[in-house]
Structures are given as structure tokens and as C-alpha cells.
Symmetry: C2
Subunit: 383 residues, 2 copies
């Protein structure tokens, strides 16, 4: 069931769901033949007994308690059986909080300063690992940058971006996978704010250990039909080192050094979903979200540039780089319920989709907590 | 020239503008006949000499220096002659700053507290006017709410919203137009945040003198054709007590006590632009902007709920309440240049239109200052 690479699920109301038999397999469609979402038959949901419903809730809660535990598309489609509580924003706030953990441990981190600019924050425990690299780092005991523990900087001999990059490359290599797991050999620029001076470049996996700002692009790829919106959702490959098997945007990626947001988006569109330039060039930049997440020694200070792309109904995504297991087109109401009721989505995707819900009127000023939720989408340092 | 109530200006590139003869008078159209924007002929702009251009600049600068000085639609259309500097966000930042003046004088204001909640801020000079109402106000010299001058509250005898409202109504009446000009006999709710407890209601014109949060709805009414967007822009009646003759949204209004944002928008759509429920119900809530503006004794702490409404090309706005002099449909590129180059728009409209430019991709991550500008749209207390 639901094993095809690309599947569409029609219908938007919670009291309906689609049997697997009613789901069209997009793989068999020719790219240019329009997919008639309305032609997919709806089956009225036969409500389960309270006991069965409770059992279903337990299964999903297991996934909630352990976000990395595997789940299938079947589990995803179960979500639509949940009762409608459309004006309750509580589930959304919970997802915002998941991206903004550990603020009470902020004082455990020491400013990382280059050329008088704070570019990151390093945990005092992680600093022990760095203390053996005396020709690279130096710790200055002052209160100039607001920490009683002083600040960390690079040795003054490391004057150029190139020699800083090489020195840090060596540090990351020496520390290895045990200290910095998931090394990708992908460089992120180190800046104090977006578009500012790039002081050097740093391995992507190391970025949260140095608390540097990291930027990415996330795209909501959607289809509209009869005033209903559907989002193309990916399920990450089980082989991915990070967040395997979790739900993801149609297209998303980190912003490496030396490429603009727009160029990166077009590139990721091609690699992740097989979207040609002729379509991806229509993607609209619509704003940004930000969060600050402390998890052990890691301090994520991420800003995601958000894009919306309205896709032709005939378009079928096709992953090119092996990073996505499968795609499905889900009614926005189902996506809403998945976000509110589970942790199936890679955490930061929730923020970008909640932004979509704001822009497209699915969250309304009449909903209690509207302004607070809107503000919380930029809880991090959005600069 | 351009004296018709509703006129459309076609074309979007700065090197073109439209002669008055080429402008269609929408008043003569039947409501159901589609208006073919493309049928309006474009005339290639015959560039003026440097001297003439400088003279035009001087005229516009006169308007900039005195935002309340009158200008005509002709002055507005001159703006399109200005050179294109599309990636320069400087003009936008200037408009944000116009809505967020006087932060350096924040300490001149004393917290206004009801039931242990800060609901406003009162200038210590304005407090002299209130000191004669000893049965209404009391000033407590403490530092509980972060001001060394203490805080202002209502006498404990004023326990209910009703008696507080009546007491303040009397205060505003006694102070009169000399101290609080522009009294409207329209009540705003007094809360610490949107949707929170309403402690009493206060005359709208008095709101900034008590520094209470004020909420409004602003709607970008737009038309789309061949991928180009056009905004319906109103020019306020010269008879309006506030911002006479200035450019304004198609629909905008304060949020009085006892009506939801959505209901208020539908009501304002009818009153301000003659938009029937069948169309206004399609307006999409898309977020909010906020600002904090100190001007003399007045401290504006406003939050505007923003809506986008895509209008049929055939729709012609028609003001019902005498508050709008005329409407015109302007290409978004011209609106952009008006915002950047003049102070023709009522200041807070700029923020809502800049929000529109973000959502619709007219401002891009590649533009220097993108994130800073985005954040600045909620410079006020957006709660």
C-alpha cells in the first residue's frame, strides 16, 4: 500500500479518507497528462469504535515519543481520522517549541568572535575539545560580548578566510565523527548576518557546534484545484544520515558558500524533485522563518528562506539524488493535522508550512494565539 | 486630468507612462464588462531634459517635506519617470522609520496599568492634564513596571469596564479638541494584547495619548493579468480630518470594540469600496504588521491585520461613505516607486504594501537588507 514513488490523495475534509485502491499512482502518468484530482473517489470514513481509536492514538504517540522511529505513509493517512479542532493552534505552538529548545541553557555558551563580530556560540563543554588546538583558538577572559566566561576567537595569525577555513577543516577532521557526527564535506559561510562579510567557511555538520548562523531554502510545492490546495510532501530516504524516513518539503536545502538563494533553489528543485528550470523559475520568495535550538553541545541558529511554487497538476516530482524515498500530494487539511498531531515532519519543515498556512489564510486572526504564533515563526535571530 | 473616480493605469515599466487620454475611465463601464488593461495603449516616455527632471524632483520633494501638502494624481504618475533602482531597499526602510519614530523618547512615558497589566503608556507632560481628574487616575511611585517614575492606574473605585469607560469618556470630553484633536465618538477596546481581557473602552482619538494598543484591518485589493499585478489605490477625501488627500489602501479601518477582524473587513469593504460580501468573503488573511510611533504626547502602538483580495478585472470600487475621493488601479511597479520616492501614502499603508511585496516575490532574498526589512515590518509590539 502507498509504495509508489508519487501518489496523490484527494479530498480535504476530515470525515473522509481515501482507501489505497482509490489512490492514483502518478508514476504511470505521462508528465503532460493532467491529473484529475476530482476523479479520485472519496470513501466516507467509517468511524472506528472508541477502543480502536484509542489504539490508533497509542501507535501514533509512540512515533511522537521517538521522532526517529519509522512510520509509513499508512500511518500518515491515519491522521486524517482525527477529530477536527481547526481553531486550536496549540499543536502548532508545540512544533515551534520543538525548534526552539534549551533557551535556559543559553548561558552555557560562549561567544565566538571574529574581527570584533559575534559569529557563533560555543558550549563550554565543547571548548574542552578545542583547547588542544592552541594554534587555532584562543579564549579571552573579558565581558565585552556579554558573557562572564569571556569569548573565543581565532589566533591572530589566521588572518585570511582561506587559512581560517583550512585550520578549521583540520580541527573538524581531527575531532572526527565521534565528536562531530555526520560530516558532509559541504562548506557553510561564517558570517554575523546574511549578506555580511564571510570570515571563513566551515563544514556544515560542525556549524551547530560553533553556533554559527546557517541559512537554507525551503519550498512549499503546491497544486490548486477548485480552490483547494494540496502540498507535495516528500518522505526522506531511510538511508539519509539525518532525519531518515521523516516527512519533508518537496524541495529544501542548506545554503552553501558562494551561491544565491534563488540559484540554490533552482538547483535543489532539479536535484531533489526533478523540477525543470522552466517551472522552478516561477517559485516565489515569500519571506523567512528562524529558530534557535540548543541540544547538548549544539546551538542551531538557522534562518530558512521560504518559497512557494504553484505546480501544474500534471507535474510529477521525481527525485534525482537518492535523498527522497517517495513523494505524495496531500490535501492541506491532512498536512495541517499531521503537523498538529505528530512529529512525522522534520521539525523545521513545520515552521515553513505554518508560514504557508498564514499566507494562504488557513490560520485566521480569529484563532486564539494568532499574533503570538505569527511572531514565533521568527523566534531565532532572523538576520 | 485624472479626475474620474476610478481610473486604471496600465503598463509596468518605468520607461513608459500613460497619457491621460490613454487612461480608461472605469466609471463608464458596466460592472460586469471586463476591463481589458492590455487595450490601453502605452506611450513611450520622452525623457525630459536634466533641468526639467530636476524641477520635477523639486516639486515632489516639496511634497515629501510636507506630507500633508496637497498633491494630485498627476503628481503620482510623474513618479514613474524616476530611474529604476529595483534592488535598493533604502526607500522602504525610510518608510518603516516614518512609522517608528521617537524611540529615544520612550522613557518620557509612564506605564498605564489596569489590574496589574500594562495596557498603555502616558507621556509625563500629558499626565499634567490628567492630574486634575483625581477621582479617575492615581499615580503610584514605584518601579514595578520598569519606569523610575512609577505607573499610572485608575482609582480602585472604578471596578467595572462600564464605569471605567464612562469615567474616561468624561475625561476626554472635558479635555476636548484642544488637547485631544479629532474626536470621533468611536470606541477602541483597552487590552494588554489582542484577544485578551478588555478592561474598558476608549475614544479612538484618545488612544495614542494613553498609548493603548490599537488594531486595524488593511486590505491590498489587487488585479492580476498576464502575470502582472495591479493594486487598487484610494486617494483620501480632502475633507477627512486625518491624512486628507493622501494615498490609501482600497479598504482599511480601525478595529472597534466587539467586532472580529473578518466581520470588520467585510463591513469596511462595503462602506469604503462598495465590495459586496460575495467578493469580500474571498479576502485572505495573510499576517500582520506592527509599529511603535512616538510623536509629542502620542504613543501609537498599532497592529494591522493584513488581507489580500484578488479582484475580478471587471470590479470597479465605489466609495459609499464619502471618505475616499477617488480610486485608481496602479501597476505594482508604480506603487513601488511611489513608496520609495514619496510620502504620498498614509504612512502605515507603506508597511502593509511592503508586506504584499514580500509575499508576492517583488522583494527577493538577493536584495541587500532583505531579512532586516522583513523583520522591521513587526517593529512594534505585535501582540
Amino acid at each position: 500500500m502507498f509504495t509508489s514513488a508519487c501518489t496523490v490523495v484527494g479530498g480535504g475534509h476530515h470525515s473522509h479518507y481515501l482507501s489505497s485502491h482509490a489512490v492514483g499512482n502518478f508514476s504511470s502518468h505521462r508528465p503532460n497528462s493532467p491529473i484529475m484530482i476530482s476523479s479520485i473517489s472519496k470513501i466516507t470514513f467509517n468511524r472506528n469504535s472508541v477502543a480502536a481509536a484509542a489504539s490508533s492514538t497509542r501507535n501514533i504517540n509512540n512515533s511522537i515519543n521517538n521522532a526517529s522511529s519509522s512510520f509509513t505513509w499508512d500511518d500518515v493517512f491515519q491522521i486524517s481520522r482525527w477529530p477536527d479542532v481547526s481553531s486550536d493552534l496549540g499543536g502548532f505552538f508545540h512544533k515551534i517549541n520543538l525548534c526552539n529548545r534549551g533557551s535556559e541553557r543559553r548561558s552555557d555558551f560562549i561567544p565566538f568572535v571574529i574581527e570584533d563580530q559575534v559569529v557563533g556560540y560555543i558550549h563550554n563543554g565543547f571548548l574542552d575539545h578545542l583547547s588542544k588546538f592552541k594554534d587555532v583558538f584562543t579564549c579571552i577572559k573579558d565581558n565585552t560580548y556579554g558573557s562572564q566566561f569571556g569569548h573565543v576567537t581565532l589566533q591572530s595569525a589566521l588572518k585570511t578566510p582561506k587559512c581560517r577555513t583550512e585550520a578549521l577543516e583540520n580541527v573538524v577532521k581531527c575531532l572526527g565523527e565521534e565528536v562531530i557526527p555526520g560530516i558532509r564535506n559541504e562548506l557553510f559561510p561564517v558570517t554575523s548576518s546574511y549578506g555580511g562579510q564571510v570570515y571563513f567557511s566551515l563544514e556544515r555538520a560542525a556549524a551547530p557546534y560553533f553556533g554559527i548562523k546557517a541559512y537554507g531554502v525551503h519550498m512549499n510545492g503546491y497544486v490548486e484545484r477548485d480552490g483547494q490546495k494540496y502540498l507535495w510532501i516528500g518522505k526522506r530516504s531511510e538511508m539519509k544520515p539525518t532525519y531518515p524516513g521523516m516527512l519533508d518539503h518537496l524541495v529544501a536545502g542548506g545554503l552553501p558558500h558562494g551561491i544565491s538563494c534563488g540559484e540554490n533553489l533552482v538547483k535543489e528543485c532539479q536535484e531533489e524533485a526533478g523540477i525543470p528550470n522552466s517551472i522552478s523559475s516561477r517559485a516565489i520568495p515569500v519571506g523567512a522563518v528562524s529558530y534557535m535550538d540548543i541540544d547538548g553541545y549544539r546551538f542551531k541558529r538557522d534562518v530558512l528562506f521560504c518559497y512557494d511554487l504553484k505546480l501544474p497538476e500534471s507535474f510529477i516530482p521525481s527525485n534525482q539524488d537518492g535523498e527522497v524515498g517517495s513523494f505524495k500530494l496531500l490535501p492541506i487539511t491532512l498536512v495541517v493535522d499531521i503537523i498538529r498531531s505528530t512529529q512525522f515532519f522534520k521539525a523545521n519543515c513545520n515552521l515553513v508550512i505554518i508560514g504557508f498556512l498564514f499566507r494562504h489564510g488557513y490560520i485566521k486572526p480569529e484563532d486564539v494565539g494568532y499574533l503570538k504564533l505569527l511572531q514565533s515563526l521568527t523566534s531565532g535571530d532572523c538576520s
